[in-house]
Amino acid sequence: MAPSLATLKPPARASRNWGELIVEALIRAAGYSAILFVFLILLFLLREGLPTFAEVGLGDLFAVRWYPIEDYFGLLPLIGGSLIVTLGATLLAMPLGLATAVFVAEIAPRWLREILKPLIEVLGGLPSVVLGFMGMLALAPLVRETLNTPTGLTAFTGSILLAGMALPTLVSVAEDALDAVPRSYRDAALALGATPWQTIWRVTVPAARTGVLTAGMLGIGRAIGETMTVMMVTGNAARLPDGLGALFLPVRTMTATIAAEMGEVANGSTHYHVLFTVGLALFLISFLVNLMASAVVFRQKKRSERLLS
């Protein structure tokens, strides 16, 4: 008989050796690193952005003229530009995304779903610069001709492309929410004589409400932060939008301003600091949007845990 394993048994407590302890320490550190990165990002935005408030008065920041060469740093046109493009994108993407999600999750036969889902994933994978490129060459002329505007490079053009960029997130999160609605809800509605459409409209979609809401928020969050596409197709005119009509005029967004101007400013200049302040504002907006979205998700999870226990 071979020697018993007893002879191989390590002395008590030695089986967690040093190598393993080091690996586990590294894994733990990697886990914490996410927090570190968020703090680092915030720290460096503050470090480069805060001097703005010493150099430019608050009143001058919340003014309507952005013309950095002559030291006009009014942020309102940029904020307005971002808002109007995002608003347009939301109005386009929400109904379209929801309807597509309902179609994919509830109506499409299996084979069609297997085609549509990867296709929408491809849309999510398209580099924003490629979308911007096509937007300039194909969409902008179309917008100019249909709307009979002097230029096709308008907020509306940006909205269309941003809607396209927000769609994959929107569709997939909304579809997950619809999928999570228990089969039994649907069966009960159908058993009561509801048509499939009534079931979808009155039972399934309302039951998936929170998930759908989250999808919308994440989609919007994505749209506000989009840079290259917007910069390439919105015409980059820093003027304050004065109503919905401005949707069909050129605008300039916060993201596009940073991307277009940061390359040309002197490090440490006021213009440089203001651009970092714009970045800081974008950071805080996305932080809030995502915090709210994750609060919804956490609350939902808690509720289901309560129901299960």
Partner: protein, 281 residues
């Protein structure tokens, strides 16, 4: 209007929405392929740009995007997988763990141009890396991290708990269990997430604008401390900054970028499908 007419109308509208969402994707990809293909030749792919980029090839941009993607992977993949292992296998439900999750969600939501600002502030200026491949890769890596972490964590969690219990009951330590059973089983899922994350990094422009990208460099970068050309930035430059740019070259560049990015997408899809077919649980 009867219920059934309503239903027919509603379903028609939903179908229309799905068509409106997906048809442009086919149109865009198809159009770029058709218009760009004639411009793509061996010379276009392997030579330097000439005549103020209005002629010649895009070789340095291809190499640059390859280097940036690989460098990003080098940093983000080990870090992301380790963080995912921590969340899936070690972390208990504490306030700290929640803070990590919120941090990851927020990292995923930060606009790419803000990553660019951050990279400029920390890597280019504060750490004095200059506009360089190194600074670009580090910036892109942090941006890619949340994608890798969340998909890898999901893949790890999908591995049945019973495998872990069995391995531990056979005298395995926690790490042995993770390395020998959990990780190999989660590998296809992790790989899919890694590729999707790097796909995004490869196509991004805004984060490298002020950290790594060079407008025009008629040579390949010599070290990680050099700036580089990159496909997405190059497409941006030639389509917006250079008057009289031949349209063929623009579409050709867009096509090469698309192929680069979409082939990564395809690889991820294939890995996922194959793993699903071969899975033993």
């Amino acid at each position: 209007m009867s219920r059934h007419t309503t239903q027919r109308l509603a379903f028609a509208l939903l179908t229309l929405a799905a068509i409106v969402t997906t048809a442009p994707i086919v149109l865009i990809v198809g159009y770029i392929a058709a218009t760009g293909l004639p411009a793509v030749s061996w010379e276009f792919l392997t030579t330097m740009p000439r005549d103020g980029m209005r002629a010649g090839g895009i070789w340095p941009a291809i190499v640059g995007t390859g280097l940036l993607t690989a460098g990003t992977g080098l940093v983000a993949v080990p870090l992301g997988i380790a963080a995912a292992i921590y969340l899936a296998e070690y972390a208990k439900d504490t306030t700290l763990t929640r803070a990590i999750r919120i941090a990851i969600i927020n990292l995923a939501g930060i606009p790419s141009v803000v990553y660019g600002l951050f990279g400029l502030g920390l890597f280019v200026l504060f750490l004095n890396f200059g506009t360089s491949i190194l600074a670009g890769c580090l910036t892109l890596a942090i941006m890619t991290l949340p994608v890798i972490i969340s998909t890898a964590e999901e893949a790890l969690r999908a591995v049945p708990q019973s495998f872990r219990v069995v391995s531990i009951s056979l005298g395995g330590t926690k790490w042995q269990t993770i390395r020998r059973v959990v990780l190999p089983q989660a590998l296809p899922g992790i790989l899919t997430g890694v590729i999707l994350g790097l796909e995004r990094a490869a196509g991004e422009t805004a984060p490298i604008l002020f950290t790594a990208a060079a407008f025009f460099l008629p040579q390949l970068p010599g070290s990680a401390m050099d700036a580089t050309m990159a496909l997405p930035y190059h497409l941006f430059v030639i389509s917006t900054q250079i008057p009289g740019m031949p349209i063929q070259i623009q579409y050709g560049t867009a096509l090469v970028l698309l192929v680069f990015v979409l082939s990564m997408n395809l690889i991820a899809t294939v890995i996922r499908a194959r793993a699903r077919a071969q899975r033993q649980w």
